[in-house]
């Protein structure tokens, strides 16, 4: 274990070697015995964590816990299942509805294309009659 990997493990798992994964810890403990630099790094990490521990949040006091319990006495419980529990059961219905809508959309779209598609590109007015005269197909022949 070199200094880079040791530093990386220190940052990841902290200065308490008991919290390290077993295989890495045994390797680290062996390396620490021989390497003064690693021991200094461990001491540095302990000092650093000691500083982090200086940041102590305020104690809210016992009244805080009692206040939550007291407030819970003023509200009713709703023991019905939450919405998110019901949603997965709807998924199958949603899927079926989507398939039906998609199929219906395809059919309607196909009908519209058949009845209006060629007409849109067909010549209109005198141009249509001239096409017929030339032996072409009018829109009513579709």
């Amino acid at each position: 274990m070199n200094t880079n990997s040791f530093q990386s493990y220190l940052s990841r798992y902290g200065a308490e070697l008991e919290n390290w994964p077993d295989d890495i810890r045994s390797e680290a403990e062996a390396a620490l015995e021989d390497n003064l630099e690693l021991r200094q790094m461990l001491a540095g990490e302990r000092k650093f964590e000691g500083r982090l521990n200086e940041v102590v949040p305020p104690d809210p006091g016992k009244g805080f816990v009692d206040g939550i319990i007291a407030k819970s006495h003023t509200v009713e419980q709703d023991l019905s299942p939450v919405q998110s529990d019901a949603l997965p059961r709807l998924t199958g219905w949603r899927l079926a509805a989507s398939v039906v809508l998609f199929a219906a959309g395809m059919m309607i779209g196909n009908e519209l294309r058949v009845s209006t598609g060629p007409a849109a590109s067909a010549p209109s007015g005198d141009a249509a009659y001239s096409v017929m005269d030339e032996g072409g197909i009018g829109p009513w022949d579709v």
């Binding site: 982090l52 940041v55 805080f64 816990v65 509200v75 023991l79 939450v82």
Partner: protein
């Protein structure tokens, strides 16, 4: 004759029974208690509050940096849980505390976002533990705490969350990842970057002083 007396008439029976009941309640795992809250058991809810409210308050405080807001958030979350206990789904397989950390974190996030839109609150002054030290030592400790808190506050949100969950709350990387809805590897990476940034800031400050 005394041997024939009914058990509950014997001296100390009820006291013993009460203490046994209390002992068993404290032995019940969080997840079982949370499920019992869903069955309307008030004692289970109260036990969860007693076990964890202060810890969650510390977590919320580290996020919001404002004591009153932290208290409000934790109270709201617990009351919402009491009102709609089925929001806890034991079948998901996560620990109750891991799930509740996520609930608190989301509530803190919403609160902080709402605060940004309105008037920002002033942050509370960091307190150092009062353990019978003399005034100078107390002041020095308080200064160190304030400086460290300032350094922590300059970290990006995700890095600060990783430090708070893993270092201060003692969660494993996997649990922290669950709270933060990311991977354990990502948490490790956030931790490494956070610590490197903090060390750099501490070193820079020490060079200046």
């Amino acid at each position: 004759m005394a041997g024939n007396r009914v058990a509950y008439l014997q001296p100390g029976f009820w006291r013993k029974r009460r203490s046994e009941k209390a002992a068993t309640l404290t032995d019940i795992p969080d997840e079982t208690l949370a499920t019992q809250v869903g069955e309307g058991k008030r004692q289970a809810f109260e036990e969860l509050v007693r076990r964890h409210a202060v810890k969650f308050h510390a977590f919320a405080y580290r996020y919001l940096k404002q004591e009153q807001e932290a208290e409000d958030v934790v109270q709201d979350c617990f009351i919402k849980f009491w009102q709609r206990p089925k929001t806890w789904d034991p079948e998901r397989g996560s620990k109750f505390t891991t799930w509740f950390y996520r609930v608190i974190m989301n509530a803190c996030h919403d609160r902080a976002r709402a605060r940004k839109r309105s008037e920002p609150l002033s942050e509370d002054i960091e307190r150092a533990p009062d353990d019978g030290m003399d005034v100078d030592a107390k002041m020095q400790k308080r200064d160190t705490a304030r400086i460290m808190r300032d350094h922590l506050n300059t970290l990006p949100d995700r890095q600060r969350q990783a430090v708070t969950l893993c270092f201060y709350e003692g969660l494993s990387h996997k649990e922290a990842a669950e709270v933060m809805e990311t991977s354990a590897k990502a948490v490790e990476s956030l931790l490494m970057r956070a610590k490197a940034a903090l060390r750099l800031r501490i070193d820079n400050r020490e060079e200046l002083t």
